[in-house]
């Protein structure tokens, strides 16, 4: 038998890895040219990508930014000697981008005439002839811009940990101020709507210790509803028109449009669907049979029906259920429908997160004496929501893109507008330029949401299980 004894007398020093396995070269060898087939596939794909990008650039890079019509575009492209199928006509974007962003929302012509010296009538006829385009965008649509800014400021303390806590005041108030900025009229309407929430809050605070959490939750919904249905209108009209009133030019919902409309509906649906989805998911797990049946029924019904159907219902059918004479705003109806739609999906996403939690978490919370609501709020939901972040954000992105369906019920979202623009003589025949612009708008927003969710997931990582 050979001798198997071995003793190392000298320890080995550390050596550099071979150059071909590290750095960019190593990476390429590992990932792109790892074997014959891999190399062939890599080369083919690179060629395909280069070809696609080149043809797109050939189509897209055209000096047509200032053209006033499609035929002018064609002349410009022909003059360059371009030989491809067709070239992009960017004049339509130059001409209509403000409309694609803000729809038919009325410009603040008085403000623009004050800064430019041209009369309000001249401004209305052709604002960009008298005022620089960025100024038209910033000042002409200041109400919508301010609404967006307030939205971001209001969301900051929720989304960013380091944002000052004082901004939470904006978080609470911005929905009401935004409604006032967008629709105009007396500030007392939104203010009284806000009072409803305050009443609900106090109903909960007062009832929770004496009547139990469940009763308090129910009453915190009932009290505001009674207030909104029967009292807030008359309360608002007492103050409206009084010296302590702020009014803005009223704007009707049919004038809303463009990407701003998509954002409004999307933001409402996103902000509304998460809490509603959580409630539905909890209801689905409830021991109370009626609650459970209602939640399951709602979720399955809404998920089983196409969104378009719900939008048609919102547009036409809902009026049948309303008392005659009530004017229930069409955009509000659409917002409610899209929110309900998103909430049904959200409920299932959240339920997935709840199901992923080990039973021990509930037991530990119970054993420590936390009641149901505290356990949900402090232990269960933070974890379930964290698990569900990818699904939640997917649902957000999905519902945001689904807002384009409102063009079917002739609301002027970007898709609806693109049809309207194409119906114009000058731009008849334009397709891809508009879609490319709209796609870019949506991509920026959706991609940001996606990145934020990845950031959040990384931030909430607290070590392996």
């Amino acid at each position: 038998m050979s001798n198997i004894e071995f003793v190392r007398t000298e320890m080995l020093p550390e050596k550099e890895p071979p150059a071909s396995t590290v750095g960019p070269i190593g990476w390429m060898r590992e990932n792109l040219f790892n074997g014959i087939w891999n190399s062939i596939i890599t080369v083919l794909f690179v060629l395909a990508i280069v070809w696609t990008v080149l043809s797109l650039l050939g189509w897209g890079i055209q000096p047509t930014w200032n053209a006033k019509s499609l035929s002018e575009c064609r002349e410009i492209i022909a003059a360059t000697g371009y030989t491809g199928h067709s070239g992009a006509c960017w004049g339509v974007i130059n001409d209509r981008w403000l409309q694609l962003l803000y729809g038919f929302y009325p410009l603040d012509a008085n403000l623009l005439s004050a800064v430019s010296g041209a009369s309000a009538a001249e401004i209305l006829a052709d604002p960009r002839a008298h005022v620089a385009t960025p100024i038209v965008m910033i000042l002409g649509y200041w109400r919508l811009n301010l609404a967006i800014i307030l939205l971001f400021v209001g969301l900051a303390p929720v989304l960013i940990e380091r944002a000052p806590r004082k901004l939470l005041i904006v978080t609470v108030l911005f929905p009401f101020i935004d409604v006032w900025l967008m629709w105009g009229g007396s500030i007392w309407g939104p203010a009284m709507a806000f009072v409803g929430f305050v009443l609900g809050y106090f109903a909960f605070k007062i009832l929770a210790p004496i009547a139990g959490t469940l009763i308090a939750v129910i009453m915190s919904a009932v009290v505001p509803i009674i207030w909104w249905l029967f009292l807030s209108g008359s309360a608002a009209s007492i103050f409206a028109g009084s010296p302590i009133d702020l009014t803005l030019e009223p704007v009707s919902s049919r004038q809303f449009g463009g990407f701003f409309l998509s954002i409004s509906i999307g933001v409402v649906a996103i902000l509304g669907s998460l809490p509603l989805g959580i409630v539905l998911a909890l209801g689905r797990q409830s021991d109370l049979f009626i609650v459970k049946a209602l939640c399951v029924g709602f979720i399955e019904f809404i998920r089983g029906v196409p969104l378009i159907t719900l939008l048609f219902v919102a547009n036409n059918l809902l009026n049948i259920f309303m008392p005659p004479g009530t004017n229930f705003d069409v955009i509000l109806r659409v917002m409610i429908m899209v929110t309900l739609f998103a909430a049904a999906y959200m409920a299932e996403v959240v339920r997935g997160g709840l199901a992923a939690l080990p039973k021990g978490q509930y037991e530990a919370a119970d054993a420590l004496g936390l009641d149901y609501w505290k356990a949900q709020r402090l232990i269960i939901m933070p974890q379930a929501l964290k698990i569900s972040i990818p699904g939640i954000v997917s649902t957000f992105i999905g519902v945001f893109k689904d807002t384009t369906l409102v063009s079917i019920i002739s609301l002027m979202d970007p898709i609806g507008l693109s049809n309207a623009i194409r119906a114009n003589q000058e731009w008849n025949g334009i397709v891809w330029e508009l879609y490319a612009f709209i796609a870019l708008l949506f991509f920026v927003v959706c991609f940001s949401m996606s990145r934020y969710s990845m950031f959040l997931e990384r931030k909430l990582q607290t070590g392996h299980k």
């Binding site: 021990g360 530990a364 004496g369 009641d371 232990i379």
Partner: protein
Amino acid sequence: MSELATAREIDRSKMKVSDEVAIQINNMNKWYGTFHVLRDINLTVNQGERIVIAGPSGSGKSTLIRCINRLEEHQQGDIIVDGTELTSDLKNIDKIRREVGMCFQHFNLFPHLTILENCTLAPIWVRKTPRKEAEETAMHFLEKVKIPEQANKYPGQLSGGQQQRVAIARSLCMKPRIMLFDEPTSALDPEMIKEVLDTMIELAEEGMTMLCVTHEMGFARQVANRVIFMDAGQIVEQNEPEEFFNNPKSERTKLFLSQILGH
């Protein structure tokens, strides 16, 4: 003979069993559906007792101690904890859960909270202790279980033994009068078992009333004042540890002991 849980002498000066009844269980029965899992359980635990519950797998040990803080509901008989009867009245359940701490086999720490937050959560939200005071108490107990330096880490960053000690500290922060342990060491590696047992021994030395489901017979011998043997949902035998181990009466107990002690 099983190994000892600790090599040192146990300090019995504060381990006093008082006359005051901590837990009283009368003719308690429980079913899972039609499966009769606990049968006619009668048990009186006095304040200061250290009880070890042993028995084969599936005999209902976990179910029994989980009935004491209402993680499981019993269907017949009474359970009276610290003078409060367990009924479906939520007020009573909350009151009892505040007085009874529990440690689980898999620790069940809250992974999204730091160690310190794990320990302060219940005092702040259930006992309404001011945050500062709750944090001081938490640090006190974390020092006691010998991991104050981990206070700002997350449970996922700790070893199993450390996590179980945190779980014990978390229960102690509620200042319970009774502690329940459900196999606190059976998910741990041997070297970690010792550190958790040491913590439990210290707790016993301070006079805590403890009910402990465990297979650590060394702990039972050295610390318990009573060992209960369960089989098929019933209490088959109970006795002082010395008698229980050296002179078991029932055939089932003898069989169980021969298996677990490897005679």
